[in-house]
Symmetry: C2
Subunit: 287 residues, 2 copies
């Protein structure tokens, strides 16, 4: 089944070449991106498939480490290969082989060599996420893994007003799961450039999922995100939409820097990493 | 977990009452609607859940018997209950209990008593199906169970012209899997009232699935459908879009009444039963 694109490298080779992948995945069956021993992860599956193609072990660096159950439509990944191996690989053949091994759960949209100065993580200047909510009395079976079902009526206008308060540079500690080895005293500044709710109309117009209810999308763009930031924000914004919190509470929660003030994070299945920006449009490496 | 809405009926009761459900489901994990011993089917799961609520065995009749892997957003089902049981059930409680048992794979959108003259199958005057195609170089992981991935470029205009030829009353034998006990000589007349391809734009506009490629929807409405009719039509129309057949071939294949002339049926996952018409709008029982 596996296509051998290159023979194994003959001995250790000091020079390396860097490759970049653009990857989409349905996170439902995975324990997140980062490789973890004994768990099925997106990064683990991708690294295994890559080593079957290249015959060398690869270590992946991604733009945004998605949690268990979170999806991606345009995740960006880089890895290094011995020059003797990497420079002989045909990008189209690598992509075909990876997709034969991994699709449709994981799909490689693009593969190719990039300069060593490019880092999927450090070169990224922005990330965009989307969170979907099915708002109606019953869930939608066809959206079960893609959207959070909220039965309570939601006030989209108030949620939009609350989202407006997120734009700008803020200390997002109140909406972050703290990283191991950090203290609650350290501020976590992030610059949000866009945050908006919208009603996904086209969906209904084209009868794509004419479920009882509405499909709502929250889209947010920032220079970077801390752990569980989008899900914590969505959990809190949905509480605003339910009338349990006020739109103006967002500013107050941000200032509190206290995670207890935010709502529970929204479930992971509604979240999708949509795009990564490298200053020259999505997924473009610096020249 | 199961809510007991009514006590078991005291002894046999000659009178029955009829109930109707409107049901949505993700067909991916099921061997179709019709109950089959030893297989997980939508109808089997629904009947089991119903008998847990009503404490009587129920036999289901549905508007459109979907095949394995085929979805529904508005399937209509009826069943009869002893009057002593059925007249005491609270529709909202029945719906809650069924959804607690079955959601999100199967979701009951509506439940309630209907006149005995209503038949989910015989009273239906029309059915509408949708078939989704992801057309691009790589599949879309988030649409893997909902759409057929076709990598070849498709000419939407030619496919639309071919679809036009389906409207009207025709013998659809060439596009039907023959029912057991019937012969190839029997014509299978069906009246198609609408058949059209469209580009699902809203999807991309709202960045809902901005996959590499396009999302195409085929929508078809007819008084009734024969077995595998929509999938056979889509398989053939996609071959027209690929340039393997001409748009004018559709009329010729219909006239041939020969299944060998049609293309292979498209895979089941792209197909969804969207609505059933009872002459007074979708899912309305005759008074």
């Amino acid at each position: 089944m596996t296509e051998e694109v290159a023979p194994p490298a003959g001995g250790a080779h000091p020079e390396v070449v860097r490759w970049r992948l653009r990857v989409a995945y349905d996170g439902s069956g995975f324990r997140g991106f980062a490789a973890q021993n004994g768990h099925r992860t997106v990064g683990g599956a991708l690294a295994d498939a890559l080593s079957r193609v290249t015959r060398v072990e690869v270590a992946l660096t991604c733009a945004g480490r998605t949690d268990a159950g979170v999806h991606a439509l345009d995740q960006v990944v880089h890895f290094d290969l011995p020059a003797a191996v990497g420079s002989k690989l045909d990008p189209a053949a690598v992509m075909r082989s990876l997709n034969r091994q991994l699709a449709p759960a994981i799909v490689v949209r693009e593969a190719g060599e990039v300069p060593l100065t490019f880092s999927a993580r450090r070169s990224a200047t922005g990330r965009r996420y989307r969170y979907l909510v099915v708002n109606g009395p019953v869930p939608d079976p066809l959206m079960a893994n893609l959207a959070w079902h909220v039965a309570d009526p939601l006030d989209l206008r108030t949620m939009s007003a609350a989202a407006d308060a997120l734009v700008g540079e803020h200390d997002f500690r109140a909406f972050c799961r703290r990283a191991p080895g950090t203290t609650a005293e350290e501020p976590i500044f992030r610059r949000v450039t866009d945050a908006r709710w919208s009603l996904v109309d086209g969906f209904r117009g084209k009868a794509l999922v004419p479920v009882v209810g509405r499909l709502l999308a929250f889209e947010i763009e920032a220079n970077a995100f801390c752990h569980q930031m989008v899900r914590s924000l969505v959990g809190t914004l949905v509480d605003v939409g339910r009338g349990r919190k006020r739109a103006s509470d967002i500013t107050w929660i941000l200032r509190s820097a206290d995670r207890q003030q935010a709502s529970q994070p929204a479930p992971p299945g509604g979240l999708t990493l949509m795009a990564v920006d490298y200053g020259q449009g999505p997924a473009c490496s610096p020249a």
